[in-house]
Symmetry: C2
Subunit: 107 residues, 2 copies
Amino acid sequence: MFAMDEVFKALADASRRSLLDRLHLKNGQTLNELCEGLAMTRQAVTKHLVILEAANLVTAFKHGREKLHYLNPVPIHQIGERWIRKFERGKLTALSELKRQLEKRDE
Amino acid sequence: MFAMDEVFKALADASRRSLLDRLHLKNGQTLNELCEGLAMTRQAVTKHLVILEAANLVTAFKHGREKLHYLNPVPIHQIGERWIRKFERGKLTALSELKRQLEKRDE
DNA sequence: ATAATAGGCAACCAAATGGTTGCATGTCAA
DNA sequence: TTGACATGCAACCATTTGGTTGCCTATTAT
């Protein structure tokens, strides 16, 4: 089990989400590969990857002098299941209350 | 349309997520109501609510001297639809690659 | 009218964040 | 074996973040 807070924090940064996107397009990339085309130093990317690994969103393996990064979709899935779904259940009632309140404004 | 980045950033903080939880339990609460039982000043809560409103996760109406806060579940739903779903599609292949890699380690 | 209540605004602060540079280490290839 | 390549580590920096305190304003109730 891993802390959902770390996952949310990791997802809060656009650079990190884009790294996940890149790994989604092509899994198992090296650090240098992931750096290509980014307006950031390699060290900055490393820091982001450390955070992603800590949140269990990415798992990395050393292969010789290279480090291969793999996407772990489980935490993302859990955010969807355990958190987002909860709010989707109340969705319609919440919206109708909102609507009612918006209309009340014009009285 | 609202920026997904703001939504992710707003969701990154546990206090803010707990405010959303509270509104999910009971919609249309006042500022003071939302402050009850929290280890935070009213002003801190205000700041969080401002961020949640900016991200469109909460909509507020003034009613006399009170301010009523309503949950807007749409952005949360969109995170689920536009972002989380994308990663769930590649889930099985990503996991099998991970497994393959883990096994390769022991060679 | 006046006191109590609900909220807003602004200045300030410590800690976290996202980034940098410089240098060190480990691995592969010529 | 020696240079090039892939990555790691640490110090440093500016900005953002999450929080505080103090005071001001608007609305309601007595």
